[in-house]
Symmetry: C2
Subunit: 209 residues, 2 copies
DNA sequence: ATGCAAGCGGACGGGGTTCGTCCGCATGGT
DNA sequence: ACCATGCGGACGAACCCCGTCCGCTTGCAT
């Protein structure tokens, strides 16, 4: 929950509205994804759309503010997992939390999957930092012999999306925590020693050229 | 590829247009999901929208025809996998093919995930048949001691969606066959003996009351 | 208490998309 | 050669969304 800005050159109600808009936008992005309408956000915040544009200039500017906050939370989580003693425990915890973040906010799932759109510098920087963290978590697990040698850090990254669209299938209901079962099984599959040789190229950094 | 209907009481061009519409709808549904516009389908089929409505009465009627065909293909695949000698091989093959069907057609992914909308009788019937097949595949694998005892047939069903939204994550590109790595790792996690006790309730049949 | 700058709501114009119909024209088949 | 059947696509109606603008309100300093 960032944005404790103590900007004092605006009226108190303006500052309050700004905060309410961020909160509302966060929730709206979580449940409906990044293409929420400005009206939806404003209404949820209890203000008019005019106020949204007055406070943030542009709808995207508001969305960006929210998304950067969400990235910072993922980064915090990664740093914390790097401090966990047991490398395997640290890795599984982070994968689970990253998967949870993706599920908690449809917007997060949409942004982390974006590859055609050019990210803002803030997001690009945090993306790299998250990659670094996953690389470190993976290296630790490899070094400890806990993670299959043929599983790369990119596999780990990709795997944290595996629980995204797994709520229902052909009449079966996974329940509210169903994604945890999926992630658990996936992590078990990643745990050394592995059974099935992985075929195909490993996931690689996205080349946007 | 069903619909070899030899209806002869319509003009030849009408019959041809009908077939082209089904083909175009199939492709459109695959790439854009179930809410393709009628205009998109008609254009891809090389006809006017009027022809679509004349041939199928309603857009949904056309979509239903396509979706039922897709379900039949999944059922064929299931029957084939049940004929595979090795139970584990049969199970993994079906999970992989079901996952592939979900990825090949965004529409399939949308329909199999639907739980609020009441399915047509044709779909309901085929859904039950698919459940039966998965139950049999799972039972065989359990009996052979190849599948973790705590993995249910519902887990198997849900797991076949795990590769759905796993193409990109935080700058990482899984590549065109990345989903196969995810599914492979997941299946390895399902393979006996398991490591991590599964927590939470197992997925259950969806109760639409 | 009062005055005014700052802020507010929400109606509005403009632009976009989709559905399903309808009618003047074309064409398959006898 | 004729006409019933079929065709294309323009069209009206119903949505939804963005960002602006203006008349009204309110915080706050005096």
């Amino acid at each position: 929950m960032p944005d404790l800005d103590v900007t004092t050159d605006v009226r108190a109600d303006a500052r309050r509205n700004r905060r309410q808009l961020i909160v509302a936008a966060r929730e709206a992005i979580a449940s409906r994804g990044l293409d929420v309408s400005a009206l939806d956000i404003a209404t949820a915040a209890g203000v008019g759309v005019g106020t949204l544009y007055r406070r943030f200039g542009t709808k995207d500017s508001l969305l960006d503010a929210v998304v950067v906050g969400l990235y910072d939370e993922m980064l915090d989580s990664a740093q914390e997992c790097l401090r966990v003693e047991d490398p395997w425990e640290g890795l599984t915890r982070f994968v689970t939390e990253l998967a949870g973040a993706h599920r908690d906010s449809r917007g997060v799932a949409e942004v982390t999957a974006a590859c055609d759109t050019v990210p803002t510098p803030e997001i690009a920087e945090r993306t790299t930092a998250l990659q670094d963290a996953v690389i470190r978590l993976t290296d630790r697990a490899h070094a400890a012999g806990a993670l299959r040698a043929d599983v790369t850090w990119q596999d780990v990254m990709i795997g944290s999306r595996a629980g995204l669209d797994t709520d229902h299938c052909l009449g079966v209901d996974a329940g509210p925590d169903g994604w945890r079962r999926v992630i658990t099984l996936l992590l078990d599959g990643m745990r050394a020693p592995g059974y099935t040789p992985l075929s195909g190229a490993a996931p690689h950094l996205h080349d946007n050229s």
